[in-house]
């Protein structure tokens, strides 16, 4: 045990008593060398808001929801940097021997905004409410793994899972799992987070002020943050450049140069595992033909997609969902390259030359309309006749996605490889986009989830990536980056590859330098 290098994850998994202290040290360390000043009022514009904006972490569905929730509430664990390894937060220790039963020890003296102390009751309430079907929690599928959550004294919580899962600390770090006050069926913003709620009008704005009694000393720095949404990208960039807002997300790659033209502004480009993929249903023909799938993967001009659609602000992907910067990425899978001759051979072998194939795309899946056109062009070179059907964004996910043999999907980053695989690739998953079934994959998934041995997990996840790359009916051409634009006076930002606005948690560290 001592001879093995002590990573944070290993420490948590092995259940060392010192794990909490070690991880929390990572939690409080800043990256900026210059002294951070307190004060400053900033206005931040996200790309979407609606009347369904919520104060309930379980129901968060937009970038601004996640940002708002992270400002108001604290979680048991958190993601602090681009390693995507979870650090401890409200939990000062998370211990387990078998990765089934987890003992959590909470920080003492953490207070909600109304002055009451955060105890194990609040944690039990917050975790168990996801299992209530009437709530409509976004992480209900994850919460199904909780066989039991009970309090063990005032500051102890015991979570018993249905099956072993070494990733629990990461699963508890997402915004949906933030801790709300016990007894609140509809959370009203009273959390233990770095900001207090001053005003909240769904679809209009959220105003938050600094919580002077935040339980992590010296945070936050900003005095007041206003969150608004500007859905139109041009208007959003204009608002930044005219000084009306100080940070924006979802900058179009084509607008980056415009922001850089003014020395007062900068962009933060966060590589991510966000992707738009072509889904080929395995349960219908001709998309279920392995030769067809192989041909499509071979005729994707990935560098062209990266350059033409994303102005090179994307990373070439290899038809599997784990991005190069993520833990457990398998670098040994050979990159699929454009090879029209080989693709033509596969097409001929499948006997599909000249067959008309409808492809469904929509602006709802970022970049898919352009990708479909590129696919059509290369398809004609290898003898495939793709018909591009452009569908309206409204209702695309419920009526078209996965409902035709060839559609485009769009998948946001997930905090762990296990979550990505179990939500989108396991044979029994509802969202298994291509209807791909592979026994070996399912077996590896359970084995890797339960294992506490990091090296073994790396091997298993590596093989699973190979399986998806070789056999699964999805083609993933590139991983897109999150592009945020900000006023240079806003300092202390760090990029976390889970989402825009520094993994939705910029307000925790940011400070204003006049």
């Amino acid at each position: 045990m001592i001879s093995r290098p002590l990573t944070r994850r290993a420490a948590i998994g092995a259940g060392l008593a010192g794990a909490g202290v070690l991880a929390l040290a990572g939690c409080t360390g800043g990256q900026d060398r210059r002294p951070a000043r307190q004060g400053g009022m900033v206005r931040v514009a996200g790309h979407a808001a609606s009347t369904s904006d919520t104060l309930d972490p379980a129901k968060g569905s937009t970038t601004l929801d996640y940002v708002r929730h992270h400002m108001l509430y604290s979680g048991l664990s958190c993601f602090e940097d681009d390693t995507l390894k979870p650090s401890l937060s409200l939990a000062r220790a998370m211990e387990t021997d078998d990765r089934i039963t987890w003992h959590i020890d909470l920080h003492r003296g953490v207070r909600f905004h109304d002055g009451s102390e955060l105890t194990s009751q609040d944690v039990v309430h917050s975790l168990l409410r996801h299992k209530n079907p009437e709530l409509g929690s976004k992480v209900a599928a994850v919460a199904e793994q909780f066989a039991e959550v009970r309090s063990d004294g005032r500051y102890g919580v015991v979570i018993r899972l249905t099956t072993a899962n070494a990733d629990l600390p990461a699963l508890l770090a997402v915004s949906h799992m933030l801790i709300v006050k016990a007894g609140q069926e509809r959370p009203d913003g009273t959390g233990s987070g770095p900001f207090r709620l001053e005003d909240f009008v769904p679809a209009v704005h959220t105003i938050l002020v600094r919580n002077g009694e935040y339980w992590i000393p010296d945070r936050p720095k900003l005095e007041r943050v206003e969150l608004i949404a500007i859905p139109d990208e041009v208007s959003r960039v204009n608002a930044l450049l005219s000084g009306d807002v100080h940070m924006i997300n979802a900058v179009n790659p084509r607008s980056v140069r415009r922001i850089h033209a003014d020395p007062a502004f900068q962009t933060m480009i966060t590589p991510s595992s966000l992707f738009t993929n072509l889904v080929m249903r395995q349960d219908s023909m001709p998309t279920g033909n392995p030769d067809f799938v192989q041909a499509v993967k071979l005729m994707l001009d990935r560098p062209l997609i990266n350059r033409a659609i994303f102005s090179d602000y994307a990373a070439i992907a290899n038809d599997q969902p784990i991005a190069p910067f993520q833990p457990y990425y398998n670098p040994n899978i050979p990159q699929t390259l454009l090879d029209t001759d080989k693709a033509r051979w596969h097409v001929q072998r499948s006997g599909l030359t000249g067959v008309r194939l409808p492809v469904y795309c929509s602006t709802a899946a970022t970049g898919s309309v352009d990708m479909a056109s590129i696919l059509q062009e290369y398809g004609s070179r290898v003898g495939l006749n793709f018909a591009v059907n452009r569908m309206p964004a409204d209702g695309y996910w419920s009526t078209h996605w996965m409902r035709h043999p060839m559609t485009f999907g769009n998948t946001n980053p997930r905090p762990t490889a296990d979550l990505m695989f179990s939500l989108f690739f396991a044979s029994s998953a509802d969202l298994n986009e291509s209807g791909w079934k592979n026994e070996r994959f399912d077996q590896l998934l359970l084995e890797a989830r339960a294992s506490g041995d990091e090296a073994l997990r790396g091997e298993l996840y590596g093989e699973m990536q190979q399986l998806i790359h070789d056999h699964c009916g999805v083609a993933i051409p590139v991983f897109m980056s999150f592009i945020d634009g900000y006023d240079r006076r806003l300092k202390g930002l760090r990029s976390v590859p889970l989402g825009a606005f520094g993994g939705y948690r910029f307000a925790e560290y940011a400070w204003w330098d006049d």
Binding site: A45, S50, T51, S52, D53, T54, K59, S61, P133, E134, G136, K138, A140, A141, R186, V201, P202, A203, V204, H205, I228, A229, I230, P231, D232, V234, S235, N238, A239, L241, S242, G243, D244, V245, D394, G395, W397, S398, T399, W401, N410, L423, D430, L431
Partner: protein, 326 residues
């Protein structure tokens, strides 16, 4: 005495009209609500799917549908809504967990403010342009005003708005690029933040009204009574204001009512570009989130406003022109 009698007879012609129109308006509102409900029922997906989003499982969607009562027949849901709206309560929003009344109460003042200020400014400008160019028909001023108004009619508002933002906000840094609504803003601050939306909307509606005014006034100026008045030596300004205007007011007021009801519900593009929380964007939001009670209420407000505006325009036309009272 004579004035009192004539005004009494004027109103006696108008009151039945108003009663008839209110009755017709109620029927229209009912039909509109049926159409909106039916058409929105044809849209793919429902509120439960929209709330749970892309990665929802069928079981989750079914559970939420049950909880929200969306699995009951559409006719039942429609009549429930109808009964509650008739009793004066538009019900709860499906997605916002708030009464529709509160959501609309937040947005309505914003729309009224923007539409009201724009109306004041654009009516004044439109009347001036219309009358001036009618008087100078065929002259240089008329030609210049014609070119200006016609090009404004032809320019889409998103172009006017975007160019105005680039010039006044990004380059000159004079005005804010987004219209923020702050509870404690003074009138000056409010006007400053609304300046660009008002400018964009004004340029759209002014042209229409000015063209109509010009046509109506020019038509009257050709009439024999104008010539008679001139021969009698009545000052020209008096002829225009007291002889011509009352006769021309009918079509002018009608054009204004149309433009103003557009300001109420059609300001969507301007609301989007300037991120202004008005009713039009609320309605679009209700459509995309399949929030039926909210959508229906917005439709009722827009339709009701339109009908009310047309009624007011007709009443003004009748009061101004006794020949229409028959």
């Amino acid at each position: 005495m004579a004035g009192a009698a004539s005004s009494r007879s004027a109103w006696s012609g108008v009151v039945p009209l108003i009663l008839y129109r209110v009755g017709a308006a109620l029927l229209t509102l009912f039909l509109v609500s049926v159409v909106v409900f039916t058409v929105s029922g044809l849209l793919p997906g429902d509120a439960a799917q929209e709330i749970l989003g892309q990665s929802a499982t069928p079981e989750q969607v079914e559970a939420l549908r049950e909880e929200m009562g969306l699995n009951r027949p559409a006719v039942t849901r429609y009549f429930e809504w109808l009964v509650s709206i008739v009793s004066g309560d538009p019900g709860m929003s499906y997605v916002a967990n708030m009464p529709v009344r509160e959501i609309i109460a937040d947005r309505l003042p914003n729309t009224l403010k923007l539409a009201g200020i724009t109306a004041l400014i654009s009516v004044a400008i439109a009347l001036t342009i219309g009358v001036v160019s009618a008087i100078n028909r065929g002259g240089r001023i008329d030609r210049v005003l014609n070119v200006v108004t016609l090009s404004l009619v032809a320019t889409p508002e998103f172009l006017v708005a975007t160019l105005a933002v680039l010039l006044f906000s990004v380059t000159l840094l004079w005005l804010p690029s987004i219209a923020l609504v702050q509870a404690d803003a003074t009138w000056g601050e409010m006007l400053r933040s609304l300046a660009l939306p008002i400018l964009s909307l004004t340029s759209v509606v002014v042209a229409q009204m000015a063209r109509m005014t010009r046509a109506a006034v020019a038509d009257q100026l050709d009439r024999p009574y104008v010539e008679m008045a001139r021969l009698k030596g009545v000052p020209f300004s008096r002829i225009v204001l007291f002889h011509v205007m009352p006769n021309a007011i009918g079509p002018v007021v009608n054009a204004m009512a149309l433009s103003l009801s557009y300001l109420f519900g059609g300001a969507l593009i301007v609301e989007t570009i300037f991120n202004y929380p008005g009713l039009a964007s609320l309605m679009v939001n209700a459509v995309t989130s399949r929030d039926m009670p909210l959508l229906q209420s917005c439709a009722m407000i827009f339709c009701g406003t339109y009908l009310a505006m047309m009624l007011v325009a007709d009443v003004i036309a009748i009061l101004a022109n006794p020949r229409l009272r028959a």
